[in-house]
């Protein structure tokens, strides 16, 4: 296990190995996403309650799932960076934050687009949208702290601490928001309850979720490679890579 850590921990090793993985990952992403989109947006049945607009779910739900997962992944990287001082983990935090933030924005935007046909309004204070909004603020916080910290080797530490605190607080926040919502929920609201989805609907959803994960991994690794090149720009191997 430690072996694996150390092997991937060196920036050069990471760069070389991920270079080989990347094309495959990209291919997988394209396949999953296009399959999922076609299936979900065109082929899957429309909901008996919501009609065609339910198709936004095929983008919104994966985005929301991924928004949260990416925060967790970023915070785990932050833990590794803080405790074991692995440089690449620090770079991982830095590169994950903007991707996660945009993913959260996407979830928010699609959530609100979905809201219009469903509830007649672009914004509704339900548990999930609200927690996603708070998640967005958490991401922005990490990004802001990161950019204010400058460029030294240890610049990312404050942001990593913040990400970790955010991780620990995330369940607390989610719990309290969910709860706040159930207390104030008007009786007619059944948004959070969803009747069990037939296979024809959750199968493309699953494909989309996997596709989003794959896209996230692809983008993250891509950005991480770039960041590694920038950080190690003084090293010989980088000069060789860049000039080749």
């Amino acid at each position: 296990m430690w072996q694996w850590f150390h092997e991937w921990g060196s920036p050069k090793a990471f760069y070389m190995r991920s270079g080989k993985m990347l094309p495959w990952l990209g291919f997988l992403t394209v396949v999953l996403l296009s399959a999922g989109l076609v299936w979900g947006l065109l082929l899957a049945p429309s909901d008996y309650q919501q009609g065609q607009s339910v198709r936004i779910m095929y983008v919104h739900v994966p985005a929301a799932i991924l928004a949260q997962s990416s925060y967790v992944m970023m915070a785990v990287a932050a833990l590794v960076a803080l405790v074991w001082r692995i440089k690449i983990a620090d770079a991982a935090v830095q590169t994950a934050a903007p991707i996660g933030a945009m993913m959260t924005l996407l979830a928010l935007a699609t959530g609100s687009l979905w809201g219009k046909p469903m509830w007649g309004t672009f914004w509704i204070w339900d548990a999930r949208l609200t927690s996603t909004l708070i998640l967005f603020f958490l991401f922005v916080g990490v990004l802001a702290l990161r950019s204010a910290s400058g460029r030294g080797r240890n610049a990312g530490r404050a942001a990593s601490v913040l990400a970790l605190i955010g991780l620990i607080n995330l369940p607390v926040i989610k719990y309290s928001v969910d709860w706040w919502f159930t207390l104030h929920q008007p009786a007619s609201f059944t948004l959070t309850e969803r009747p069990a989805m037939p296979v024809e609907m959750w199968a493309p959803l699953l494909v989309m979720v996997l596709g989003f994960y794959s896209w996230f991994a692809f983008t993250w690794i891509l950005r991480l490679r770039l960041e590694v090149l920038q950080r190690e720009s003084r090293a010989d191997w980088v000069q060789r890579v860049v000039s080749s």
Binding site: F137, G141, A144
Partner: protein, 210 residues
């Protein structure tokens, strides 16, 4: 001990928090409606939000000065455990901002048409919740001290973490004192007291190396 002395020497800070709170609470009836039934409905939340804002405003007090004076450096170099020093700092924040707020809550409650029983629960929720706010604000201050525009950055970073306390606190009052919320708040407080000073200690080391 030292923190108390500093506070006593500059009471202006505590007064500033008080005035801010009273000012904002005054603004709301003006902006919305002086109708007591309306005010009573939003009072719990309003006082809590104002408390939050006041805490955020006061967060950098003491810490910014200590950073500039080199006191934080000495704290890191000393033999005293950092988490203890951070806990004391959070306590100082509470003394200069939370305690005055707690004392003036009966007045605020009356201004917002709350009944005596509600004011009692308001006090209880603030008594448990304000220390949590102080702990988080101190953490935020340590994370951002020495950075550009830290006073804008700090609220942005810390506000999400204050939300659970806000929700629990307001619910406790609005539900008329259901003890469940009290227990949750107490649990949150205990958890925060135990974990946040440690995290703040880490933040101090980071701050000092800037």
């Amino acid at each position: 001990m030292r923190e108390c002395k500093i506070l006593v020497r500059s009471p202006a800070d505590a007064v500033q928090s008080l005035l801010f709170v009273v000012m904002v609470v005054t603004l709301f009836p003006l902006a919305i409606s002086p109708d007591p039934s309306v005010l009573a409905g939003i009072a719990a939340g309003l006082i809590w939000v104002v408390a939050l804002l006041a805490a955020l405003l006061a967060a950098e007090r003491g810490i910014q000065a200590d950073f500039a004076d080199g006191v934080l450096e000495q704290m890191v170099l000393g033999n005293t455990p950092l988490w203890l020093l951070c806990l004391i700092k959070a306590f100082a924040h509470w003394l200069s901002c939370g305690l005055p707020l707690l004392l003036i809550t009966p007045l605020l409650g009356t201004m917002l048409a709350l009944e005596a029983l509600e004011i009692y629960w308001m006090l209880a929720s603030l008594a448990l919740g304000l220390p949590v706010l102080s702990l988080f604000c101190t953490l935020g201050a340590m994370l951002t001290v020495g950075l550009d525009r830290s006073s804008v950055l700090l609220p942005l970073l810390i506000a999400p973490f204050l939300i659970p306390t806000l929700i629990l606190g307001t619910q406790w009052v609005q539900s008329g004192g259901q003890s469940f919320y009290g227990y949750m708040l107490a649990a949150l407080l205990s958890l925060s007291v135990v974990t946040l000073p440690l995290a703040t200690g880490v933040a101090v080391r980071i701050a000092v190396s800037r």
